[in-house]
């Protein structure tokens, strides 16, 4: 077997659906029926998961560290809010896509700034763009509602059939459907040759360029796609909560997002989903212990994770599941978090 077909074989095998993945999605779906009183928080988790998946696309696969991913979330949120508020596009799914496209345009425009320079410049530029947008949203308060945010948004039924109910049931299944569709697409993308070339770029841009990968074009493409995902997450936020306020652009949102992804692990798409669940649980626990100062404990979690080391932590967490798999299936562990960023 030649080397190139060998690579192709392994890539294809990795791209195949595992039993565990199907089980994961079935459990998520089952949650929707098992906990009918907790729709609001579960919808929140789904939104966060989608948002984290968006960051995973650029951080975990392309190695771009962004401190301002909330910029696209915010654009999506305001776009969806404005579309619904002024009755421009009443159908939620269509509005969702349009809002995502709005964020995508911004992502494409700013990607040229982001691909320039090294880590540090990227951090600064992404942070700067998010702050700039926050300042803009505050300045044009006649459009955005300023610090009060957009109020009085009324969502029309999905496809003109399914109305949003006050318990958030429709919102939950709507968000779940959106998340699943986008997940399938992201999964397809990262396992395609395009996704593999992104990993090559992340590991060593110079070598990637030397074997003929157009580094900058690939980075622009994935950054734009990630912006689309973040915009959709933002639009979901507005559609399911019927508000959009300035804090969609806040730095804390971008920072929390990093934490979500760090908890879940980068570079295997499920990191964002798992991280979102754990992050919200942690937040709930801390908020019940100290309602005002939960941020302290979140900070502590971040510090501890970094000091212990992300890889080591994931090994510890996966130790028990892997042991069980080894006993039951009699083969080597299959649940493993791939190498995170360099």
């Amino acid at each position: 077997m030649s080397a190139s077909s060998d690579v192709g074989y392994h890539a294809q095998r990795k791209a195949r659906w595992h039993f565990g993945e199907a089980a994961f999605w079935l459990i998520v779906l089952a949650c929707g029926f098992l906990f009918p009183t907790r729709y609001l928080i579960m919808t929140d988790i789904l939104r966060l998961a989608l948002f984290a998946m968006s960051l995973d696309l650029i951080l975990g696969y392309a190695g771009i560290v962004s401190l301002g991913h909330a910029a696209f979330f915010g654009v999506g949120a305001y776009a969806a809010g404005l579309l619904a508020l002024h009755g421009i596009i009443n159908e939620p799914v269509l509005a969702l896509i349009v809002a995502g496209l709005a964020a995508m345009v911004l992502g494409f425009a700013t990607s040229f700034l982001v691909i320039r320079g090294v880590d540090l410049t990227r951090l600064m530029v992404t942070l700067g763009i998010a702050l700039l947008l926050e300042a803009l949203a505050e300045r044009f308060s006649n459009i955005t509602g300023g610090t009060d945010g957009l109020q009085g948004i009324e969502m029309q039924p999905i496809f003109g059939e399914i109305p949003f109910d006050m318990f958030g049931k429709a919102g939950f299944f709507y968000s779940l459907a959106v998340l699943f569709v986008l997940f399938l697409f992201a999964r397809r993308v990262v396992h395609s040759p395009f996704g593999l070339s992104l990993r090559a770029i992340k590991n060593n841009p110079l070598r990637a360029a030397a074997i003929g990968i157009p580094v900058n074009r690939r980075l622009i493409a994935i950054y734009t796609l990630a912006a689309f995902y973040a915009g959709i997450a933002g639009a979901l936020f507005t559609q399911t909560t019927a508000i959009a306020s300035l804090d969609v652009f806040a730095f804390e949102r971008s920072a929390d997002l990093m934490l979500v992804l760090v908890i879940g692990g980068t570079g295997y798409l499920y990191g964002g989903l798992v991280g979102a669940v754990i992050f919200r649980m942690l937040q709930e626990v801390f908020a019940t212990i100290t309602p005002q100062y939960w941020q302290f404990w979140i900070g502590l979690v971040l510090v501890v994770i970094v000091l212990v080391g992300r890889q080591r932590l994931h090994r510890w967490v996966l130790y028990v599941p892997n042991l069980i798999i080894k006993q039951v299936a009699g083969r080597k562990a299959v649940v493993a978090v791939p190498e995170s960023d360099s």
Partner: protein, 289 residues
Amino acid sequence: MTSILTNLFDGVAYGMLLFVLACGLAVTLGLMNFVNLAHGAFAMAGGYVCMVLVNRMGWPFFAALPLAFVSSAAIGIVLERTLYRHLYARSHLDQVLFTIGLTFMSVAAVDYIQGSSRVFINLPAALQGQFDLFGVGIGRYRLMIIVICGLLTIGLQMVLAKTRFGSRLRAAVDDPRAASGLGINVPQVFAFTFAFGCGLAGLGGALSAEILGLDPYFPLKFMIYFLIVVTVGGSSSITGPFLASLLLGIGDVAGKYYVPKMGPFVIYTMMIVILIWRPNGLFGRTAAR
């Protein structure tokens, strides 16, 4: 005309203040290549120490300033020896996460201890109000800031350029391996520099309570300003960050005065444009190697 000069004066004072606040970061970020987003927390610590000493314990303002420096430097050296040291070799992502975590902790901790509202330091009467100099309104407090920060800048430049420690630091930064081969204790030099930078930030925090406002969210609010100073200024010498601070200070004050509606995006736009134009900063060589 006089309003222009007054604005210029205020801008210079603001810029000088930013320089003292950020020059410690210029060393850690620019020279040691460590992304320290928690730098503002050290400034906040100095500010709060000064506030407690002056307001609660009745110390004179000028006696509390050195204490603000010392306490921030002490916190800095403890954290450097126990935590930061392990992260020098880690990826930028790890450093960012770690320092964001520290920032969140400091914000919540100060909120818990001192409450979330803005605090003021009681100034001596001699520093309040302003006087006219050829028709230009000069704030006494701002004049003091310019004097103190100006002296500090000159002192820093002298230390870096003329003293033995300065040449050790420059050697350690240029090539840590060769420097340690020559018998320079590189970690010690870095630790000392880090602590000194934190101390300066603490002093800046104490001085800035009157102008920038001091509350638990200080590290988050001004993080971007410190980063701008360092990235725009580059790191080949302290002249770069110094000029960048002045530019930022004057630009911000003028922007807020002449185009108040444009608010803060004058400086953000300025920063993005400069970074696109010269990714390694306006002055000097690359920050990341």
